[in-house]
């Protein structure tokens, strides 16, 4: 299991983990962005497969998804393109359940494996509905990352940590993705609770927007996922260099 083993190894070597999120299909050069953030020190990369109705996402990722769809992005093309990025850093796709179900569990899992994608995050597929997909993903060697939320009960949190593969995604606030002025008060507690429940790597994501917030959140967990803050830079016209500079800045903030 490359995703979890890579993240564990980095963590156990004393590093905090940074996982940037890039919307797949956002502009012709989106795979260059993936390569650039890999080179800039990402520990894994989350690639969004756009869906028409992303209910867990705020304005920034909604807009990026819509733009990508408008220029013809498809799940199959994005997954295929990931097969050609040729980087060592583990890749995790994030998408909603309908495109997965529509493609078919086995077919979708097989396509991820064929492209060298290591993991998948499906935020509208909670523990109780996981069976069909998770079985197919496990068989194909794709690690399914589960989310835990600040209002998740202790019992449920233990079950989520147990079933999650790759890492545990701690949702750092009550709400949808998007940049925030300050780190939510729930973030540190979320990290602490997940860490107490599992030895798997724990990453906090949602509403973590800049170096200061990354440092604060990472201190309570094994690392962070940063999405909207990076995608906004891409929407504003930034390319691979801008994305790499941002990830390098987060990396430096954590390593010093």
């Amino acid at each position: 299991m490359k995703l979890e083993s890579t993240l564990r190894a980095r963590r156990d070597a004393g590093h905090k983990l940074v996982v940037p999120y890039v919307t797949g299909g956002l502009g012709a050069g989106w795979t260059d962005v993936v390569r650039a953030v890999a080179a800039a020190g990402a520990d894994a990369i989350e690639v969004g497969i756009p869906f028409s109705d992303p209910v867990m996402d705020g304005r920034t990722i909604q807009e990026a998804s819509q733009r990508a769809l408008d220029i013809g992005a498809t799940p199959a093309a994005i997954v295929a393109a990931l097969g050609d990025v040729d980087i060592e850093v583990p890749l995790v796709v994030m998408t909603y359940y309908n495109p997965v179900a529509h493609a078919g569990h086995e077919r979708f899992a097989a396509s991820l494996a064929a492209s060298g994608v290591d993991g998948a995050i499906v935020p509208d597929l909670p523990l109780d509905e996981l069976d069909g997909w998770a079985d197919a993903a496990d068989s194909a060697g794709v690690e399914t990352v589960l989310l835990a939320a600040p209002n998740t009960s202790d019992d449920r949190l233990r079950a989520i940590c147990e079933r999650s593969r790759g890492f545990v995604y701690g949702v750092a606030l009550m709400g949808i993705t998007g940049e925030r002025e300050t780190l939510a008060r729930q973030a540190v507690e979320m990290g602490r609770r997940c860490k107490a429940a599992t030895d798997r790597p724990v990453l906090l994501g949602v509403g973590i927007s800049n170096s200061a917030q990354v440092a604060e959140a990472a201190a309570a967990a094994d690392g962070v996922i940063v999405g909207s803050a990076l995608v906004r830079r891409l929407l504003e016209g930034g390319g691979p260099e801008a994305a790499a500079a941002f990830v390098a800045e987060l990396r430096t903030g954590l390593d010093t």
Partner: protein, 413 residues
């Protein structure tokens, strides 16, 4: 003539069947939501199960339906329309409820649940505005804060209802994402709820969404069908109508109606939005043309492209402009207990005019689809001489300006 319904007491029949484990109706339904919403849905399910079995809760709801919403609603025998069509048409008159549509039945129940859960704020989505108005009404009655998400396109075509909601103290939030219609209003309501779930109840207006909503909304709407069946029995000397028909967007008035007749041998027909015609691709016929998928928390039938992206629906009526259908309808269609057909925008307009001139009843554009379908099928798949119960889910005042503009090409002065 049968005795008038007004003055009778509201009688709630015993609870109907629960969906199976994990909220399934056959292979449809379920709870496909972000983890953040799971605790609230579990709480709501427990709360509803207890409340719905409690005599006290049921008595309070029945009293509200009676003294506030104006139930029971009558079944009206349509003499001139029947003569015109050659079939006996009975209308279940949800247009006569307070706020002018069946939506009030559900929101009063959900408002009581909101109070039981100790929440102070409700959010709702709305298409035509009828559910938004109903929710704003119940929120005013119970002293709750109320936010209504409404597609920007619908805000434009339903200006009267927007004003009504504001007058009732609700905040109306225009939704500009996606197709800016009902589907997107639900998206934004879910996004709000993910952030506010600890003190907010999401008052869903149809038999859609994650478990337990399709079950709860069906149970709160089944008063329509249970009442109608008793009224039909009285009118038809103990017999049931041969055909029961209702329009279907998400499907709450149809599900409420069908719930009362599932055990009979009546042919159950849901009429979906045919838009510009099924072949045009611009329609809302989710059962006829949808495929299984997951949206808004439930596995059901949805209009989608070859990659699983949800398509925009099209309908002249904002209330049917939804690319999916409630999971219980999908299950009824799959096992053949109910059938679903489409009526086009033009057929709905014809239904709108027909009921107005023959009976002096101006229907909302949504049930006008059911009337349009019946006008088309009378003497064909609905044999001459049959008895048909049709649920008139709402009144047409809200649509008058839009229809006038469509007919004359000019906005009303």
């Amino acid at each position: 003539m049968p005795a008038p319904a007004r003055g009778e007491h509201v009688h709630l029949d015993p609870p109907g069947p629960e969906p199976s484990a994990r909220g399934r109706f056959g292979e449809f339904g379920g709870r496909f939501v972000p983890e953040t919403l799971v605790p609230a849905l579990l709480e709501l399910e427990d709360e509803f199960r207890v409340a719905w079995a409690s005599d006290e809760f049921r008595a309070e709801l029945a009293a509200l339906l009676e003294s506030y919403a104006g139930r029971p609603t009558p079944v009206t025998e349509c003499r001139r329309l029947s003569e015109r069509l050659g079939v006996r048409v009975l209308l279940k008159r949800e247009d006569l409820t307070h706020t002018g549509s069946h939506k009030i039945n559900n929101v009063l129940g959900q408002a009581l649940l909101t109070r039981r859960m100790g929440k102070q704020r409700v959010i709702a989505e709305t298409g035509a505005g009828q559910h938004g108005v109903a929710t704003a009404t119940a929120a005013a009655l119970f002293g709750l804060d109320c936010i209504v998400f409404m597609g920007a396109v619908d805000v434009e075509r339903q200006a009267l209802n927007v004003f009504r909601m504001q007058l009732l103290g609700a905040e109306v939030v225009p939704v500009t994402s996606g197709s800016a219609t009902l589907k997107d209003a639900i998206n934004d309501a879910l996004r709000d709820w993910v952030a506010t779930v600890e003190h907010t109840h999401y008052c869903i207006g149809s038999v859609v969404g994650p478990h337990p909503y399709p079950w709860i909304v069906r149970e709160f709407q089944r008063v329509v069908g249970d009442e109608a069946r008793r009224q039909c029995c009285e009118l038809l000397d103990g017999a049931d109508p041969e055909v029961v028909v209702a329009c279907v967007g998400g499907g709450s008035n149809a599900m409420g109606t069908f719930a009362g007749f599932l055990e009979t041998s009546a042919r159950l027909v849901g009429v979906e939005a045919g838009g510009l015609g099924i072949e045009s691709g611009k329609h809302g016929a989710s059962v006829e043309r949808g495929v299984p998928g997951v949206l808004h928390g439930a596995r059901s039938l949805y209009l989608q492209d070859e990659d699983g992206q949800i398509l925009e629906a099209h309908s002249i009526s904002a209330g049917l402009d939804y690319p999916g259908v409630g999971p219980e309808h999908a299950a009824l269609a799959a096992d053949g207990r109910a059938e679903y057909h489409a009526a086009t925008d033009e057929e709905a307009l014809e239904g709108f005019r027909l009921l107005s001139v023959t009976e002096g009843i101006v229907p909302a554009l949504e049930p006008a689809h059911a009337i349009g379908w019946l006008a088309r099928e009378a003497g064909r798949s609905v044999p001459t001489g049959s008895t048909v119960l049709l649920t008139l889910s709402g009144r047409g005042d809200k649509d008058a300006a839009q229809v006038a503009e469509r007919i004359t090409g000019e906005p009303l002065p």
